[in-house]
Amino acid sequence: MPTAQFDSTLERREASLLGMWAFLATEVMFFGPLFFGYWHGRLYQPDAFVAGSHHMHIVLGTLNTALLMTSSLTMALAVRAAQHGRPLRTWLGLTALLGLAFLGIKATEWLMEFGDAANASGGEARFYFLYYAMTGLHAVHLTVGVGVVAWLWMHARRFNAAYHAPVEVSGLYWHFVDIVWVFLYPMFYLLERYR
């Protein structure tokens, strides 16, 4: 039975999902100004942005995109396992490991690019500022996501076909972080690669 403030278990489930979607709307607002700053720079200093982008490691960036999209698949399968009351630790573990692999590769890239970034000036310096700020903010979100998935993994036995809202809601967050990266990847790695 749901607690007094809900009329049905369906309503309770939708309330938790609505809460997460409302939070994700504020997250869109949180990332929004950085995206605005990026497109302003891209329009007014296009050559500097292309030059900055050519310092990015496209193989590592592409591999990371594939890893993160695969982690979304394993997260979706974890949510599905929870909905059916099946064991979900394997899927949660894979999701967290893929997230950690992404963070490891990202940190390696940051170190590799730091020399170029420190010596950049003008529009290129702006490109690097946005690159570190946006991928950094994204990595903070992913780190929180890995922590949440680890917490779910520890408490996996609590969830069953009737109660799995925490898994579902965490899944929404994880996929949102994936969507942010889906936009960051072409914005930083794929500028005029044909040159």
Binding site: E14, L17, L18, W21, A22, L24, A25, T26, E27, V28, M29, G32, F36, H40, Y44, I58, T62, T65, A66, M69, T70, S72, L73, M75, A76, L77, R80, Q83, H84, G171, L172, H175, F176, D178, I179, V182, F183, Y185, P186, L190, L191, E192, R193, Y194, R195
Partner: protein, 98 residues
Amino acid sequence: MTPPLAMSYVLTWLVLMVFLALTVGSSYIAMGPWNTAINMGISCAKAALIALFFMHLRGAGALLRIAALAGLLWLALLFGLGWSDFGTRSISPAAWSR
């Protein structure tokens, strides 16, 4: 609502991977401003796939769909207002940014 089949998630992932290959491949073909348009178009398609299938918006009720679109609506409003400023004025750099 019955949960979707596992196969639908795997198919979504496969299409995402195909889109990733397309976006990388297209960026090595010179198309001028169309490269950016194609890359952003593919990103929007990927985001839509993730939202509809992985985040279950496809089977969600009106309330969740509205909440999901609310953030994008506000973002569009603020981008529109922001551009109406930057787009209609010339930039005079401050002394420290010259």
